[in-house]
Symmetry: C2
Subunit: 332 residues, 2 copies
DNA sequence: CTGAAAGCGCTTACAG
DNA sequence: CTGAAAGCGCTTACAG
């Protein structure tokens, strides 16, 4: 933990510069000294200090990620995938759970790029706009994913309005007339799409269950409470994510509601687990492998081409509707 | 992105040192210059460079975490919790998915401490032993959680043998005579506890389903395949984690197996979702809030008390058995 | 209260 | 092929 180039230099009788070169592999240096230095360095247990190395280059070898809920399975999966990709290139990921000062924090740590999802948080969008403006001339890569695109940043566009619209349309076409929507802790653009589908048909606006603290247990209780007070029940439910689906379905079941006979159900997200529910659940969401892959490609390109900003890179991922038993159309 | 202390110094006519002090809040400096410097720094859009700051102190303000599967819900939750705690103290988390060189990588990045779980991976344990030995005199904090304790490191002990034993004992006492155990991609100490419970009763050793690639889908298929080839069925099943439970249960259901009538079932982990299955699933696992909290306390202590190594800190979390309908004892 | 200087560990033109 | 020197951006004794 303590051995420095200086120590190796002293031990070998070489200069610090020579040792540095012997170890770095990219300058010419005589094979003999190179081997010798490497051997001694190994013996001494030398571990290069990457932070010191970065000091010179001005880059930190770190990518910042703004997120709002790592706990979510999809977020975790995405993060895990990114970490592996980054790690293969010796790049670090600095995760910042969104707060007032999180972007500032990332900047203070001199991240080489920022990735951000959760663009439904207005403060986050605003902060990203601010730094995008501030850093524009500077060629600082910001890559977002979501429905909102900020000029000056790259994006993987996920049309949440479309995904809500698509799923609601399917449910209405299957016979639903009144929809209930669980929204988790926060409204997102997906509700807009659902509303639009209702509007087009002259059907009543969907009812929303908005939950303060969107954990599995609290969503379960929110739905329980809704059911206890409801005079008439909707004939369809859209569950906002995979994680809460178990809680919501349990609440429905305990209320004696059968799916799809009494109520059709679907998840407005796709973590690949819809088919493992009973009955299998219809899902409408974005392929997260595709998403993460696009994200990574843009990121890699930007890291490898600093100073060549050019136009914003924008990729789109379409929402995919997977129809399963839970939204069977004949009420069988 | 470009403003340095030097620039502020030039602009204010002060020395770099004075500017540094005005901004750092801990040295005495006249109120007027302090205010002035801060105002100017703000106007210039100064963002301190934390990495440069750390250069001097020798600490990186980063904690390394070795993990093997961030995708797992519990790992993600733990990580999220830790990140929030660390972020409040402006400490970074460097996550390293375990690989040959991951510890070396953390060390190169001069992490101030290492946290590691997944102690069922022999190579990881070996590597941790090596660096623990190498860094011992150096007061480098290593905090692990799991069943194995490495001398010279702190630990939150999770007795996996005990958790397996406890759950198997419960199932046997409920009437099971032959157990099937899904192990995910890797054997862990939990199987030892299950075997021990069988041994004590003179019952046959549990059958194990070991899966190469433990995803939800592959566990589903692994169980399907097992069921297709089994001559006689076990009367109890232990599922190794929450994530795979949905797949395993679906496979059982498709095979016409009713729980608990035909087969009792339980999860050897507790992510707080057991009660949301149909029927509610018995679980035996460790309280992850407690675990993470203990982890954080040890970590915080170590970071705040460098150079005061003393004895290893060891905390224990007991496995908790939560009995639910899926293991009802009278076969009703 | 403020400045000049040394230093954190490394890299990299620039000379030789 | 190798060394002396400057520098990355900041902090911190040490003088004044």
């Amino acid at each position: 933990m303590k051995v420095r180039l200086k120590d190796i230099a002293a031990r070998t009788g070489l200069s610090i510069a020579a040792v540095s070169r012997a170890l770095s592999d990219k300058s010419d240096i005589s094979p003999e000294t190179k081997d010798m230095v490497r051997r001694i360095a190994g013996e001494m247990g030398y571990i290069p200090n990457i932070n010191a190395r970065n000091m010179k280059s001005g880059r930190s070898g770190t990518v910042g990620m703004l997120t709002s809920h790592l706990v979510n399975a999809l977020t975790a999966e995405r993060t895990s995938y990114l970490i592996r990709k980054l790690q293969m290139r010796n790049i670090k990921l600095l995760i910042s759970e969104f707060a007032d000062n999180s972007i500032e924090w990332l900047l203070q740590n001199r991240v080489d790029a920022i990735i951000a999802g959760s663009m439904f948080i207005p403060e986050m969008v605003q902060q990203l706009k601010d730094i995008s403006k501030r850093c524009l001339g500077n060629d600082f890569p910001i890559i977002t994913f979501g429905t909102v695109h900020i000029p000056g940043t790259d994006a993987v566009k996920l049309d949440y309005i479309e995904s809500g619209y698509k799923l609601a349309t399917h449910l209405y076409d299957s016979g639903c007339r009144s929809l209930l929507v669980t929204c988790g802790g926060v409204m997102s653009r997906r509700e807009d799409g659902i509303r639009q589908a209702a509007l087009e048909r002259g059907l009543p606006m969907p009812e929303l269950i908005l939950d303060k603290e969107p954990t599995l247990a609290s969503e379960y209780h929110a739905v329980k409470e809704y059911l206890a007070n409801a005079k008439t029940l909707p004939d369809g439910i859209i569950i906002h994510n995979n994680h809460s689906a178990m809680g919501v379905l349990t609440a429905l079941r305990e209320h004696g509601i059968r799916i799809p006979q009494d109520m059709r159900a679907a998840i407005l997200e796709d973590a690949g687990i819809g088919q493992y529910f009973t009955p299998p659940l219809t899902t409408c969401g974005f392929d997260h492998f595709l998403l993460t892959d696009q994200l990574w490609k843009i990121l890699e390109y930007r890291l490898d081409h600093p100073g060549a900003r050019g136009a914003d890179i924008i990729k789109s991922i379409p929402p995919v509707l997977k129809i399963r038993e839970s939204s069977a159309s004949d009420g069988k």
